[in-house]
Symmetry: C2
Subunit: 142 residues, 2 copies
């Protein structure tokens, strides 16, 4: 039984999220997703949708076995609880794989780090990021 | 084998959608969802997310077996193709059940019409409509 962990903010769901999670699910047998709490989203604008609602929506997607909220202070706490064999990073997530691997080792966590593939955008009008959906809403509705 | 059809716009997905679709799925064995094309959304503002992307996202939700786009001219065409036993309406969808039943009969379609239950909103900060999510985005980001 290979347990995989994926993680992200998942503010407004779009096909890029589904692709990442399907790719992660295909790396093993059971997919757990750690959904970042708003207080921990510091590298971009805070999400629009509340924490628990984002967790609930990720848990409603077919590739996902269980969705968890992250720990507010220590990102490794849910990893220690879930004990994954693989951590699947999104193709565009800004993590240094080697640094992450070293940090996991230092905590006694032994898991592989894999990168998901990007989604090929076959239709030009696809909105493949929460930011693009938000931009379109602001353009059309405000 | 009881086949159920649900339908709607499903612009920005939220837990109210998931609840409606789970309720509809629980009415039978196989859930088909007809996603309204933008050109046919006349009773409210047109959706932000393109037709095909909305269909794809609805199809990624656990309760859904298959998601279809509606017919641009004749709403009964996909119903005739899917041949459902039950049409599940959302608790707040503005359809006159008797009028719909009569229209189905006139087309030789024999299926029951059921209403889904409303979702109890246990958390005050839940955003249980696409409109509320859009309003928050316009408030916070424009």
């Amino acid at each position: 039984m290979t347990r995989v962990v994926a993680q992200g903010t998942f503010d407004i769901l779009h096909p890029g999220h589904v692709h990442y999670l399907q790719d992660a699910a295909d790396m093993g047998d059971e997919l757990h997703v750690i959904v970042a709490r708003s207080v921990n989203v510091t590298h971009k604008q805070p999400p629009v949708v509340p924490d628990e609602q984002r967790r609930e929506m990720v848990g409603a997607l077919k590739p996902v076995d269980e969705a968890h909220l992250g720990h507010p202070e220590d990102i490794f706490v849910p990893i220690e609880r879930i004990e994954p064999d693989i951590i699947a990073l999104g193709y565009d997530q800004h993590h240094d794989d080697e640094q992450l691997e070293a940090a996991l080792s230092a905590r006694g966590l032994d898991c592989d780090i894999c990168r998901a593939s990007p989604l090929e955008a076959e239709a030009a009008d696809r909105l493949l990021s929460t930011g693009r959906i938000i931009d379109r809403i602001v353009d059309e509705r405000s």
